[in-house]
């Protein structure tokens, strides 16, 4: 059996058609989309109707332009739609998953099925669901005459999820990113499923990414900011807990003139004087004065840092109001939808589960554990290379710019 079970119409249009041939009421049709039907209510007057991820249309003859939305009662259980009332025999029924262009059946804007259910399914063949991977593993690796005579499903589930987490950190492609605008407060909330950042960029007028760098040694967000008395002792509230204030470090950083840090100080004479500390302030802004420009600071894109105390990502003042794109990694387990594995890493996942289970069992021969560890490492390396998306022609094109002779 082929792995593709959807028809072209189901995949591209998000639609499936049926023909009514039952006189009595209660006729039912089962959809076979890869996407499960989500059913809130059949009645558009009910708020739950908005939960539906599809619309139903009927037509007497099936000709284009003759379909109308079906607005009478029906139920949906296990992707089977059951009509409460009898449909005239020969009625054409169309199930349209919500799609950005509204689909081809609705005649009016209200009738059209606007949404992105169909788009969410596009490209899904690239992945395998984690549940499918676990079922496959149980079939292929567990049983009589195999390395694993027996394995608890919960153990397999645990190691599959752990493997996916580890893969997410450094093997799988980061597919998580958010487009945000930096507010006046210069801080945005860390995404719900954030584990670490990959890249932060601001987007210029041409839509080009300009990479923003972490502050590293420039500044920091103190985790604790106790209020001190005149002798430097932290003060406590009535419950015996330290009283926390706002961070002065962060305040100063937000007000900082970035030009004094990155060397773009020639905008006016004041900046130049500040830079040379001609005004005699405490400290100085003469970054790199002794050794020339410091490359990590000589950039105008700006800086960001992670404020662990408040769960925020803070940006330098020159980025206020700018559009940024935050690319980050998650662990792949944040949402049910997330629990999918690229097929290019499927074998590595199996190897990882197998190694993890065998290596944590007592009484296993060490040579076997070592063998599986090597197997896992090799397959993981293969997965990394595959997912790195290295294409010969693209590399050749890049290397041409380096004035290199490339034979290919």
């Amino acid at each position: 059996m082929g792995l593709i079970t959807e028809t072209n119409q189901q995949y591209y249009q998000g639609a499936q058609g049926f023909l009514s041939n039952q006189v009595a009421a209660g006729e039912s049709f089962s959809t076979t989309f890869d996407t499960d039907l989500v059913f809130g209510d059949w009645n558009p007057a009910n708020a739950d109707y908005g939960l539906n991820n599809f619309k139903l249309y009927t037509s007497a003859n099936g000709f284009p332009g003759t379909y109308a939305e079906y607005l009478l009662a029906y139920t949906v259980v296990n992707n089977t739609i059951t009509f409460t009332a009898a449909l005239p025999v020969g009625t054409f029924v169309a199930v349209q998953l919500k799609i950005l262009n509204g689909g081809q059946y609705g005649q009016t804007q209200i009738e059209k099925a606007f949404g992105d259910t169909v788009e969410e399914n596009y490209g899904s063949y690239e992945y395998i669901k984690l549940t499918d991977a676990i079922d496959n593993f149980m079939v292929g690796y567990v049983g009589d005459g195999k390395l694993l005579q027996k394995a608890k499903k919960s153990d397999v589930l645990f190691f599959a999820k752990r493997s996916l987490q580890e893969f997410s950190y450094d093997t799988l492609k980061s597919i998580h990113s958010q487009e945000l605008t930096i507010p006046e407060s210069l801080s945005v909330i860390i995404p719900q499923d954030y584990v670490n950042y990959v890249r932060v960029s601001w987007i210029d007028q041409l839509g080009v990414k300009r990479i923003i760098y972490p502050t590293n040694n420039l500044t920091t967000s103190p985790y604790s900011t106790p209020i001190q008395d005149t002798e430097g002792m932290p003060t406590q509230d009535n419950f015996g807990e330290n009283i926390e204030g706002t961070s002065i470090t962060e305040e100063r950083w937000k007000k900082a003139n970035d030009n004094l840090l990155n060397g773009q100080f020639a905008n006016n004479i004041d900046e130049l004087m500040y830079f040379q500390n001609a005004y005699g302030f405490e400290g100085s802004w003469n970054w790199g004065r002794q050794y020339g420009l410091d490359p990590q600071l000589s950039q105008v894109n700006g800086w960001f840092n992670i404020n662990e105390r408040d769960g925020l990502m803070s940006f330098s003042s020159n980025l206020a109001g700018k559009l940024i794109v935050l690319e980050y990694i998650s662990d792949g387990l944040g949402y049910d939808l997330d629990t999918k594995v690229p097929k290019l890493a499927e074998d590595a996942l199996y190897a990882s589960i197998l190694y993890s289970i065998v290596s944590t069992r007592s009484g296993q021969q060490e040579y076997l554990v070592q063998r599986l560890q090597k197997d896992r490492r090799a397959k993981l390396r293969n997965a990394k290379i595959r997912l790195s998306n290295i294409k010969l022609d693209e590399i050749v094109q890049v290397m041409r710019g380096k004035s290199k002779w490339i034979k290919h």
Binding site: D36, L37, V38, F39, V76, V77, N78, N79, T131, D144, G145, Q149, K152, K153, S154, L157, F158, K161, R162, L333
Partner: protein, 257 residues
């Protein structure tokens, strides 16, 4: 195919009466038959486990009829049934209130049919302590796709004795378990003839309580020799015991070697 209780009884009578050694009454036979059927049934599990090592060592043959593990597994078919369990809200668990006595629990399928899509999930049977640990880990906590279960007991009215209770998380709408049931007791039912003789009342006949052995037809020889063994004890004849014992031992060795 079941073994005819009448055939076995007649064979046993024929053998032990050969030299006028004695006679086994129908009620004695029925008792012995129940005992022997139960013994043979019980041997399937250690025997199956033993011959399964051939599978584990990759030394099992792959022939159509001589794979001993497959043969023993096959012999369980009369007792293997998928049983629907009922939900008891008071004890928040599932119990069996159908016909027969459950001997072992096999694969558990939990069905969640009020969801879209419906889930038909293989359910992991764990100990209570494993259940507690598995449910506490966020990575393994039970879901509709991966439910877990453990067994306990409860008194569920109208029953007055405690019975098997299966707790499943998340609670499914339907619980089906592939169970092994205990064999029903064979009975050689009879009517009394004009000469005072016992006349067999056939299985399925009007008013008949006769019940065949549930064991597979391939167990006929085993049944006869093992019943003979006990008959030898009843009629106090060591020769019968010895011969039956040797027969039985040889058959067993053949299977396991």
């Amino acid at each position: 195919m079941a073994v005819s209780v009448n055939t076995v009884y007649q064979t046993v009578l024929y053998i032990i009466n050969k030299e006028q050694r004695g006679y086994i009454t129908p009620s004695e036979f029925s008792s012995l038959a129940t005992q022997v059927q139960s013994e043979i049934f019980m041997t399937y599990f250690p025997d199956g486990n033993q011959v399964n090592r051939l599978n584990q060592n990759n030394t099992q043959n792959n022939t159509e009829f001589f794979d001993m593990f497959k043969d023993i597994s096959y012999k369980l078919y009369p007792f293997e049934k998928e049983a629907a369990f009922s939900y008891d809200a008071t004890s928040d668990g599932f119990y069996y209130n159908g016909v027969g006595t459950i001997y072992k629990l096999g694969e558990i399928i939990s069905t969640y049919n009020t969801l879209n899509p419906t889930y038909n999930s293989i359910t992991q049977l764990t100990s209570k302590s494993d259940y507690s640990e598995i449910t506490r880990s966020k990575l393994t906590s039970p879901t509709y796709s991966y439910p877990i279960a453990y067994t306990t007991n409860a008194i569920i009215a109208p029953a007055t004795l405690s019975q098997l209770l299966i707790k499943v998380s998340p609670t499914p709408n339907i619980l089906n378990i592939n169970c092994l049931f205990e064999p029903s007791s064979p009975v050689w039912d009879f009517t009394v003839g004009a000469l005072g003789q016992f006349i067999f009342n056939p299985v399925g006949g009007a008013g008949s309580n006769s019940t065949d052995f549930e064991l597979d037809i391939s167990e006929k020889n085993n049944l006869v020799t093992n019943i003979l063994k006990y008959c030898g004890i009843i009629i106090n004849d060591p020769t019968v015991i010895q011969v039956a014992e040797q027969e039985s031992q040889q058959a067993s060795n053949n299977v396991k070697s």
